[in-house]
Symmetry: D4
Subunit: 223 residues, 8 copies
Amino acid sequence: MALARTATENLGFARVDHHRNNRQGFPEVIFGQGKTPDQVARIAEAIVSRGHSLLVTRTDSDAFREVSKRVPDAVFHEHAGIIERRVDVPSGAGVLLVTAAGTSDIPVAEEAAISAEVMGNDVDRLYDVGVAGLHRLLAELPRVQRARVIVVVAGMEGALASVVGGLVRVPVIAVPTSVGYGASFGGVAALLAMLNSCATGVSVVNIDNGFGAAAAASAINHL
Amino acid sequence: MALARTATENLGFARVDHHRNNRQGFPEVIFGQGKTPDQVARIAEAIVSRGHSLLVTRTDSDAFREVSKRVPDAVFHEHAGIIERRVDVPSGAGVLLVTAAGTSDIPVAEEAAISAEVMGNDVDRLYDVGVAGLHRLLAELPRVQRARVIVVVAGMEGALASVVGGLVRVPVIAVPTSVGYGASFGGVAALLAMLNSCATGVSVVNIDNGFGAAAAASAINHL
Amino acid sequence: MALARTATENLGFARVDHHRNNRQGFPEVIFGQGKTPDQVARIAEAIVSRGHSLLVTRTDSDAFREVSKRVPDAVFHEHAGIIERRVDVPSGAGVLLVTAAGTSDIPVAEEAAISAEVMGNDVDRLYDVGVAGLHRLLAELPRVQRARVIVVVAGMEGALASVVGGLVRVPVIAVPTSVGYGASFGGVAALLAMLNSCATGVSVVNIDNGFGAAAAASAINHL
Amino acid sequence: MALARTATENLGFARVDHHRNNRQGFPEVIFGQGKTPDQVARIAEAIVSRGHSLLVTRTDSDAFREVSKRVPDAVFHEHAGIIERRVDVPSGAGVLLVTAAGTSDIPVAEEAAISAEVMGNDVDRLYDVGVAGLHRLLAELPRVQRARVIVVVAGMEGALASVVGGLVRVPVIAVPTSVGYGASFGGVAALLAMLNSCATGVSVVNIDNGFGAAAAASAINHL
Amino acid sequence: MALARTATENLGFARVDHHRNNRQGFPEVIFGQGKTPDQVARIAEAIVSRGHSLLVTRTDSDAFREVSKRVPDAVFHEHAGIIERRVDVPSGAGVLLVTAAGTSDIPVAEEAAISAEVMGNDVDRLYDVGVAGLHRLLAELPRVQRARVIVVVAGMEGALASVVGGLVRVPVIAVPTSVGYGASFGGVAALLAMLNSCATGVSVVNIDNGFGAAAAASAINHL
Amino acid sequence: MALARTATENLGFARVDHHRNNRQGFPEVIFGQGKTPDQVARIAEAIVSRGHSLLVTRTDSDAFREVSKRVPDAVFHEHAGIIERRVDVPSGAGVLLVTAAGTSDIPVAEEAAISAEVMGNDVDRLYDVGVAGLHRLLAELPRVQRARVIVVVAGMEGALASVVGGLVRVPVIAVPTSVGYGASFGGVAALLAMLNSCATGVSVVNIDNGFGAAAAASAINHL
Amino acid sequence: MALARTATENLGFARVDHHRNNRQGFPEVIFGQGKTPDQVARIAEAIVSRGHSLLVTRTDSDAFREVSKRVPDAVFHEHAGIIERRVDVPSGAGVLLVTAAGTSDIPVAEEAAISAEVMGNDVDRLYDVGVAGLHRLLAELPRVQRARVIVVVAGMEGALASVVGGLVRVPVIAVPTSVGYGASFGGVAALLAMLNSCATGVSVVNIDNGFGAAAAASAINHL
Amino acid sequence: MALARTATENLGFARVDHHRNNRQGFPEVIFGQGKTPDQVARIAEAIVSRGHSLLVTRTDSDAFREVSKRVPDAVFHEHAGIIERRVDVPSGAGVLLVTAAGTSDIPVAEEAAISAEVMGNDVDRLYDVGVAGLHRLLAELPRVQRARVIVVVAGMEGALASVVGGLVRVPVIAVPTSVGYGASFGGVAALLAMLNSCATGVSVVNIDNGFGAAAAASAINHL
């Protein structure tokens, strides 16, 4: 069986998978939520020590303080909840477009956009183009149609994914956000809308999972 | 207290509200589901005997057979599940537009359209204009923009309500349908999308409730 | 295609839709939730600079502080979570009645009432008339029956919408509120009750969406 | 410990609790759903052989055929899904009123009414008095106010429980029904409305559980 | 129509229903949640000024501070979230037993017990008798069996209601509590268990609604 | 890596895992639902040809007809939905008790009991001992307390698991059933109750999963 | 604005979008569910008359009978619910792998596989490789790792998507199926598992949406 | 009836069950959530005074401060939310393995591991072996296969339970955790995945219920 296992480094509370870069095309990404700042920092150090790119998602300034001690040139994007440090990676084949329906969706969109950049993609951002003012999107049609893969970020009714999906032939990764209140149920309304999209070529990731969309889009863009 | 009560006719299993025409602008409507054909027919007869318009919703051919015995000139719309018999009613002020996103939504759209006609409205129908092929809707923009009130019928992701709502200044009544499968959850996806619409002027009725949308739209059109 | 697009002002994080006043009868409204105070203030300034009415919903005192710097005569309604600045707008055709079932529903009712006033409606308020003490509502029947359009705000079992809907022939916009606990599920109980109303002419907006109800009612009142 | 156990008769697939009459004031009731006709008939025979009243709920004509062979004078109420055979039982202290909001709720209301009669109560029936036509209920106020305990049966938005609960000081048992469609979710809308009733003195049983309401009301009426 | 309406006192934000004592056997109860301390205090004063008993539920020390200024001899039960001031009321016919499954359920049980006392009932408390240690309940069987009406308070799996319901012939009011975590879903697990109780004579109120159970039980105890 | 793979037989539509007997102590079990009768029969033949015990769950008479052609001495238990053919297997260490709350739960209980027998366990059956008649269970306490592992099968409120769990020190596997209606939501009420059991030593399997409980209990009994 | 609209053919009940081939790389696909056989056949004829490939999903033999009259060489795949007729389309760049966890998932997997073939992809099928017998998947690792894009079809706990996603660097489209019972809730369990996958590069489509996965995967494979 | 009851000590707010050690093999465990620090401390003192092991779960430093005053040598495990004090108990028969999918699941895993140790088990810990990097688990296969009973702790998609369940013949107790966000719904995704596991021998406890899994596993290990 071809499963490599020698490249796993056991920190006790975590087994860092140094082989992932070979197997999956990008090093292990640290999911910050639920980890102590010290745990984040120690995993970060282990990754960087191998010369890999660092990407921590769903993290905060407490973790950044600890990470900085071990990885001094790490960068913190507070709005997106990301700590990162980029090394040269092969660039994706085309433009990866990140669209966001509203201003309130920008944090999740930025999680996607920054993650995609760290993963070696040329990212274009197109924000506040929700369907209730359709002309805003249609005015930017050329940017939409030149992308090689598109990430659509939208909360509330999540309709942007269907509209964009109907306009292009490239794959669309839809990210529902928890923006909304009442019957948005923390993003469920947008999630269901996107899963039921009548546009073809649309697939969906978890609510607020900007990183996941970026990873899927980047995998596509690096084919 | 001004509540009239003398106009109620007690059939035992039902109290027919003959005063409703005065109080609410349209006679009592028979909700067919869960009633026996005989019950439907006897209520229908009581309504017609007062010279009122007859409208039975969520009904079927069994009930129609019974109704025909007592109201010979009643008409059955099988696709829409409606039995009706129209008398002259004052016409609404403008055009009541019924739009449907897909072919599969037409039965609910027809429940709305026929109900609205029986209630005295000039109805325009615009079907199969879902957002995944936006040009189909945009090509009909003049018909959309001349309506006085709009009923939007859509299943799956229900995005049509937001797109239409963003194009007009008149009130939009959105009807989610149970068209779809899996995570449409019998229309819940469309319902939630419509409740979370970022377009203004949109309000929502129950899943598959074409009649309810027609009633609300007709009340608006008769102001 | 008649979609205007020249009137969009791109602030980077937001595309302000100055054309909306023409297309939809009221300028763009700022949804405050999820936006930074600075973002709210800059959009507010852009709207006011065109001479339009300002309406910010779901906002707070932090945002008001920033808005005040750019729009000195803006007014803050803390209880309703609204910042506004009114300019002359054409008045609606009749009285827009806002009813609330209980004292705890008043914040949402005020969001509706103030929004409707800013949109140019003559608003009547009728509060604490829930159905468990029916005489309170029946005693005010004349005020209910003279309205041109009614907004019903209710939490818990949300029954007021059905009772009011059965008393009038004008359109009723129902707003479920998150008032309650346990099996109210943050307003879901009231939402479902309103969607299932056996009264005709009732349509529904999102939980706690006083603004949405006002917008729909105002669109009706300005026909 | 005072728990009697000698009075249990073991049929293999069922342990008939002949002591229940003493312990709970009424003999064991057979829940028909999920039992074979033969199982129903054999339990029925065991109960009748002790001279107890027979009550089978949620049953059908197949079971009735089998029961008739063993209990020839049993009676079948098809609409209510009940098989019964009454023996003299002490009568309750007052009138047990069963109200139903709509014609479609009558089967559940009849399950309640017949069960209550078999349990020795004087039952008054008041049907089709839903809140969308409030005058129908108010016209019958004297019958409502003379009852000692009230069962309210309603589907859709279930608002009748709150309105009745607000009019009386006696206990109200609310029965949500599965009448409705779409967002009624098989009776969940009515169930939640009743659980969130702002009227005092209202308690609730399972969806369509006419029998359960009758049992609770009868226990109250026999105090 | 016999609906009294002269006894309503309009405070602007609330319509105090002074007639409720006559109509429902107990004065208006103040639901504290969502009301400002000042609103609570002013309604409390209006009720006390008529010589009625005062009962405020779901309230806190902030409200108590305001109420004390206007009703100096009001009493605050912090654990139960109740402010009250009792006047002589006719006592119920028998013992009203309040049982609680676990120590963590006591706050809700106390809301029920204190409310019932204020409403004029002789209350017996039996706490920490959950079904996982059945002998604790069975050891107290005599107290259970002498009650005229029983309130059962339980979180988690809510099984106590069924066990108690099977032991007595008097009515049982079940109160699910939000005690638990994970798949208790804030009390939903207990609520569903109680609604599906196979014991007869059990009816249910909202999650954590100790007051509602007390009101239903008191109505029964005062028949 | 020690994962055997040579023992897999590929039928095209299925890969029969002949190694499972070694790895997991019992041969592959055929989940009948969603497979064609022909598919079931061909997998059955492949298993039997290796001399293994055959167990097909969630199956019906159509599949049995096909299986009989290839495995003539297979046995069909219609009530339990099982086709089986036993070969000598090592017997478990003690008695595996299957308890069922009501008569309607017996099909699931039999799925568990027969599966456990085929897996080589000495099975004791104790049916219709639901908690609403506690004396029925307490009268059988010795049988409950001598078991080495207990499967508790219950629908509706599922309380039997907690009561049994509190009486013994051996592991209890709880099986919620879909017996019930309305707010039982197809077994969800019982599932949640069991997951929230306050008794220790209780773990839970899927709704109606008698086989799964038998497999877990058998694994325990064969330690 | 570049939205073509001249290529829409209005059949009254449907607007066939002949331009979609240009805009989206594949002609309009007919969603069979909810359409009458006649409607399906007439849309099919319109599509074929332009020389486009025909693909009807979620359809049945009734529709096939009507389609055959108008498109004699159409082919029906009953198990997959597909009617199709292929014309030469450009082939995708690599192998599109369809994996299915269990035999019962094959119908959905075949919907995906056949759809992908009609869309011009070289499809490899790998069925019955669920994670409870991990060696079955690991034995086929080379086939998994040579694919350019992977569709993972799984019901029940849906774990296959995470395991496959962790083994490859290419994009994975996960399709939850409704295979299962009880707490699978018609595929919700698998859907949630896939949305929460800790593997990167996984995105998800609706429950049972084999076609949607094929469309997304084909869009990727044709980049 | 053999139910002992003399050993219950009534503290007023709690009935301490000193007999549980005999009946269930381990003394009463204190569920800390919802109890005041003083209540926890007084129950702890009562248990320790009988010479029993002390185990408090879901507790915090406030409670520990009070407990320390009465049980000076109690130990607090903050990360696991446990206060404990061990006395000699008979050791289980084999190794009880606790596996955790990710670093963020460790607090729940530690609740299980420490509880199991206090209950007299030899515990092995295997953390961060989630299925997206399968080689991490496979590299530790010998430790997995030598355990007598296994607790699997996993959030997000919860797939580890199925993979482990497929590798062993011993019983597996699965603990879903609330680790995740969005459509993990506080652990529901993992819970459903585990309930639907296609691996045999897996049973499930409540979300985050490390203690419950330990209790079930310990009961198995002490057979």
